[in-house]
């Protein structure tokens, strides 16, 4: 069974997709959402196989939703849009398909066929997430789970990132958020202007580094302004020094 969710801020537009999806025997509609934020939460919670995502929405646009997803675990995305000439470039790069409103049933079925194809051959997935990130630029903002909802934090507020199995701890001055993402993917999203890897499972905000103390075998002890102490692995010293001009 293919699990699909539908995201559009206009009810009639959702209705049309849900009716047509409902008539397919191999597809189950797992939910419908009217804005980007609740869609993002639902994707994290329900891990659908495919998301029909409207581009123009209040709060987070469809592209912004895509940019916040994790590349490896992202559902397939079918963008639905009225008219977005410049966004089409991004769709071509990574989305499974896109539907231009208004579209007819035949066009809709073609999009579904492509979804089935991609699901059957996951190795051919090209990521719409990467394309969306490229399109909207390096993300300065990160959505993190906080309580029952999501909170938007500025990437400058992040002091450091620590990987823990399939999760990443995102540390800010007064909070620590747990994100179900890989460190690699998160760094890719946040861009390498601000963050630098210090060992296999940690990265720090360069602006937050307070000092370094040499340890054995070329490792260092790295102190952040907040007082937190981390280990800088020998393998990553050269990158850090070149980035900090040291």
């Amino acid at each position: 069974m293919i699990r699909a969710i539908v995201v559009d801020d206009e009810e009639p537009a959702r209705g049309k997709l849900i009716r047509w999806l409902g008539s397919e025997t191999d597809i189950a509609v797992a939910g419908e959402y009217a804005d980007g934020l609740s869609a993002l939460q639902a994707i994290g919670r329900d891990s659908p196989d495919v998301v029909f995502l409207d581009v123009q929405m209040p709060g987070l646009s469809g592209l912004q939703v895509a940019a916040q997803l994790e590349v490896a675990t992202s559902p397939l995305l079918v963008f639905v849009t009225a008219y977005d000439a410049h966004a089409l470039a991004a769709f071509d790069l990574g989305a499974v398909d896109y539907l231009l409103k208004p579209y007819d049933e035949e066009r809709f079925r073609r999009a579904l066929d492509r979804v089935r194809e991609r699901l059957a051959a996951p190795e051919h997935r090209r990521s719409a997430v990467l394309a969306a990130r490229r399109h909207i630029g390096v993300s300065e903002r990160l959505l993190v789970p906080a309580g029952d909802g999501l909170r938007m934090i500025d990437s400058a507020q992040i002091h450091c990132l620590e990987a823990d199995d399939n999760y990443v701890h995102v540390h800010t001055a007064d909070h620590s958020y747990l994100l179900r993402r890989t460190l690699r993917d998160l760094l890719q999203q946040l861009g390498d202007q601000r963050f630098v890897r210090i060992h296999k499972s940690a990265a720090v905000n360069i602006a937050e580094i307070d000092g370094l103390t040499p340890l054995f075998k070329g490792d260092y002890e790295l102190r952040l302004r907040s007082g937190r102490v981390l280990r800088l692995s020998r393998r990553f010293t050269s990158e850090l020094f070149s980035r900090t001009g040291g």
Partner: protein, 366 residues
């Protein structure tokens, strides 16, 4: 220094006054021409006759231009204009005779000459009639010049107003038929027609009406408020179908407001902004209110129509600027009403944004 009254030297009547002064001088020269070649008469005598006329006329014309009274009194109706300025005829003609002949007698007396002319009983009526005829001719020329200038100016204003209208129509077409609006509406129809043919039909008809209205609005500059409101209702109904349940629209139109002429398509961009910022970018249930009132203007002298378009769900940020739609509205209001009309946007105390457009009920300046 910004002075509201133009300096007299920049009066449009300056060339005319110069011409008129020259003409009088020529008349005076011709009148005294026969004496110039008479060896028995000293040269200063005809010269005094001529200069007395030239100087008097020059001084008079200077005062005429300084007073700017011709520019202040309305040209329409012409009868009133002429009657108004003919009131000065006795003073102008009488003053002319007294000053000219007073001056001549004074100069002749001082120089020891004897100024001979017709007996006063014949001279005074003759000179009075002459001065009166010349004053009437002067008035005719002034009226003609001013009328010509006014026609030219009106032409320029009209061209300006028309240009603003054309620009507004273009912006309107671009804005109202923004591709997003059009395609999303079509998608709404495409969805509705599978479940509720009558509703789909209604949306499609509204869209048709809206398209027709925006394409056809070019032929008129002002329309009754009711007609403009109908356009807004079409737009609002389509948006309510699209954002079903997310927006409540209220209309409060004062009695007597419906027939007041307003510039065509002046309200449409404002309602569109209300939807765009208040509804399309929010997730809750929001409201839009359109209210029209008729009342006294600030100076309590004229009647003013005010239309408020309120939307919840958005706030004007510090440093916000007019978009194309608002810039255009302001431009058209200024072209049509000068300073008598206005468009203000402000944050509503209880949240949301209120746009208020006010314009004089009695007519545009152009």
């Amino acid at each position: 220094m910004a002075d509201a009254r133009p300096s007299w030297s920049r009066s449009p009547l300056v060339p005319l006054a110069a011409l008129w002064g020259t003409l009088w001088t020529l008349v005076a020269i011709i009148e005294s021409a026969y004496t110039i070649h008479d060896p028995a008469i000293p040269r200063w005598q005809p010269l005094t006759l001529i200069l007395s006329v030239t100087v008097t006329i020059a001084v008079w014309l200077t005062f005429e231009l300084r007073s700017a009274r011709y520019l202040r009194f309305p040209l329409e109706p012409p009868r009133a204009w002429f009657l108004h300025h003919l009131r000065w005829l006795p003073i102008v003609a009488g003053g002319y005779v007294v000053i000219i002949f007073g001056a001549r007698h004074a100069v002749f007396a001082m120089a020891g000459g004897n100024y001979r002319h017709l007996p006063w009983a014949a001279l005074v009526p003759f000179e009075l009639v002459k001065a009166a005829i010349f004053y009437c001719l002067w008035l005719g020329l002034v009226f003609g010049t001013l009328s010509m200038l006014k026609t030219r100016e009106q032409g320029a204003t009209l061209a300006l107003v028309q240009k603003a209208l054309v620009e507004a129509q273009l912006a309107q077409l671009q804005a109202q038929l923004r591709p997003h609006f059009l395609f999303n509406t079509l998608n709404t129809v495409s969805s509705l027609m599978q479940v509720d043919v009558a509703r789909a039909d209604r949306v499609l008809t509204r869209l048709g009406d809206l398209l027709r209205a925006s394409l056809g609005a070019g032929s008129t500059m002002t329309v009754p408020l009711e007609q403009e409101l109908n356009l807004l209702r079409l737009y609002a109904e389509i948006m309510q179908e699209r954002f079903s349940g997310r927006v409540q629209v209220d209309w409060q139109i004062a009695d007597g407001a419906s027939g007041i002429p307003v510039p065509a398509m002046i309200l449409q961009p404002i309602l569109e902004n209300a939807f765009r910022y208040g509804i399309e970018q929010t997730t809750g249930v929001e409201s839009i209110r359109v209210a029209a009132t008729v009342g006294r203007g600030q100076r309590m002298v004229s009647t003013v129509l005010t239309v408020h378009i309120y939307n919840s769900g958005s706030t004007l940020r510090d440093g916000w600027r007019d978009g194309i739609g608002l810039t255009n509205c302001r431009g058209r209001l200024r072209a049509l009403y000068g300073d008598a009309a206005g468009l203000d946007l402000s944050n509503y105390p209880e949240g949301g944004v209120i746009a208020s457009i006010s314009l004089p009920v009695h007519g545009a300046v152009a």
